[in-house]
Symmetry: C2
Subunit: 420 residues, 2 copies
Amino acid sequence: MNNWDLMENGALAIKHGKITFVGKESSATNIVADLKIDAGGKVATPGLINCHTHVPMTLFRGIAEDQPLDRWLKESIWPLEAKLKPTDVYAGALLGCLEMIKSGTTCFADTYFQEGMVARAVQESGLRAVLAEGILEAENCLIGQKTFRSSVHFVQEFNGFADGRVSVMLGPHAAYTCGLKLLKKVRGKASELNVGIHIHLAESKAMLKDFEKQHGSSEVEFLDRIGFLKDDVVAAHCVDLSDKDMRILAGRGVSVVHAPVSNMKLGLDVARINDLLRLGVNVGLGTDGPASNNTLDMFETMKFASLLQKVICHDPSVLPAYEVLKMTTINGAKALGIENQVGSLEVGKKADIILVDLSKPHLKPLHDLCASLVYSARGSDVDTVIVDGKILMQDRQVKTLDEETVVEMAEKAAADLLVR
Amino acid sequence: MNNWDLMENGALAIKHGKITFVGKESSATNIVADLKIDAGGKVATPGLINCHTHVPMTLFRGIAEDQPLDRWLKESIWPLEAKLKPTDVYAGALLGCLEMIKSGTTCFADTYFQEGMVARAVQESGLRAVLAEGILEAENCLIGQKTFRSSVHFVQEFNGFADGRVSVMLGPHAAYTCGLKLLKKVRGKASELNVGIHIHLAESKAMLKDFEKQHGSSEVEFLDRIGFLKDDVVAAHCVDLSDKDMRILAGRGVSVVHAPVSNMKLGLDVARINDLLRLGVNVGLGTDGPASNNTLDMFETMKFASLLQKVICHDPSVLPAYEVLKMTTINGAKALGIENQVGSLEVGKKADIILVDLSKPHLKPLHDLCASLVYSARGSDVDTVIVDGKILMQDRQVKTLDEETVVEMAEKAAADLLVR
């Protein structure tokens, strides 16, 4: 089932959280199951993987809209983040998990502060996640040291958390917010602990110019010079890469996460995804934080990703639907280093599966399944979500979380935060 | 309620299809109503207006994906269109109407062939529409004459059809597919019959270059020279306008319809909507035909429109949410010449109203209603649709059409067409 091979009248079997059968329904008649799900009129696909977000930022959704990036950050987001309590992070993360389940995301990569609270939301929701506690220096060595220690501590404490559904990375914010020494320490520690690194890279032209003035090279060249870039690095955004930068990323096996909706909404640049793919770079997709998106809907992100490359390249054939589906499933899993566990429907892999209801008018007639999923489907067309073989949602009823409670908790946290 | 003034705890009253009260619920206690709809947890907005589409093309959704425009048209779309029967057009249009009701569109502007079948779908669905039978010459005078007569005949036959919910325009396809004489005839006839003109304009750079080679000026300059451009002209796309073109459109009061999703998907150019707005041009939004979109969801189109301008202008403050909402409601109504009837919630206007359910996780917390509607909401969040005071959908149950029958009819038409 790799490469978006499609199968009609297929069946899947799951045992102890893993896929034990993939094939024609007619060949599955001898399988005895405790529970059967009729997927008639639906399609089973690997659960979608959101490779870059900051889920607790659901709390800031709709705050300070349509503002320039620096004003948005300095006047609205950062002052609010400074006031965040662990319970707020938990409430925001739980709302994000609920939204992701309801839109077919089964695994997400997150970096934020107090990431332990995100891990707890993951545990409760039943989702899978690759989490990293943020490391940020901002020219203050002490803060750099402190956040580094927290990030390492998080790795040690939460690797394998929630029955193994949580895996971990180190989370240096960016080359422009972490100094040379700190970045080297992060690199060394990641190799020592055998975990990946989740970092923002080449996020905006303005920042890039400042960086070049200070360091005499681009962020990518700088990071490469200090030996930072390896195939365990997940680099989010990459909107302003030179040809040389792109060749370096390809050569080092770095995975890029494209976040088209957030990049567009913040008025930044367009990542040259088509060029990166041609160079053989592995690319996943992400929503970025919901405050700059404003959703966590990977169906929406798939459509934006494809259409943005088509218009930028003036070529409707670039980033075709099946390519985008791969980016959101198996290639996302590769980016996060878990492609041996999830990202495709194969025997032996963990059962992270979604069923999309194809009966809706906007999905009819069905001439091309991949195109339907990328260009027509919405998160709300997801009917059933299974992670680790456990049903998190069926008939759009979420089983692991009480929707009303989660929403109320987040609303209360956001309201308190604004008057704190 | 113009300019997206917001009201909390508001109430609306409707009588004989028109809005008779807009105000605080507390001031509405003495209104006696046969039927009350509780809109708690929901927001009432004017129904969305799709200013440019070809609804029967639902039948081609997903056919020939990710292909260059000329190949897509010549090898796939045109051969299929040549085989379309009136019943196919009806089936496709009815599916489109169903999809529009389910995503909060209450009025659409359509140009196609056998447009009478679209009018019948509008009648049955309960929607409002501004329809035009397409006029196309393509260097064959006889076809030009024939389609011109059909378009005029359609205007005469269908103006005020479906209890007045159908209004009409003439539908010359484009300056590059209709000759000088024909365009002059269209202009004269539109003025004589006092109806608008719905035309494709400046759709792609390649076509524009061919046109300039042949006529020595841009499409806009050419049309202006022959006196074609007046304030009753609705010009779809306008992706390749010079500064001079834009000043001409502003000076003549032409309305522009922006169709960002289709323009992006076909790998065309980006319309300079922000510049057009600055010049005072009235801009509405459209999905274009569902074969190049692939939905009729105006919520999606609103988000694409805003984010595309932000990234192209490198400025997150352009096309803010409230501006996009105006484009999709009152400015869309202006473009179609029906702003005295619909497009806002005002006493005396026709009751075209939607209720959007704000209880969904991806709309929480609610800090900014306009941002929620444009950046977070999806068509599937629309709970209730009212047109002309009649409930077309309530609790997502469509009242005027049987969903299953409509879908089956369209599926059958599409399947038959492919083997015909």
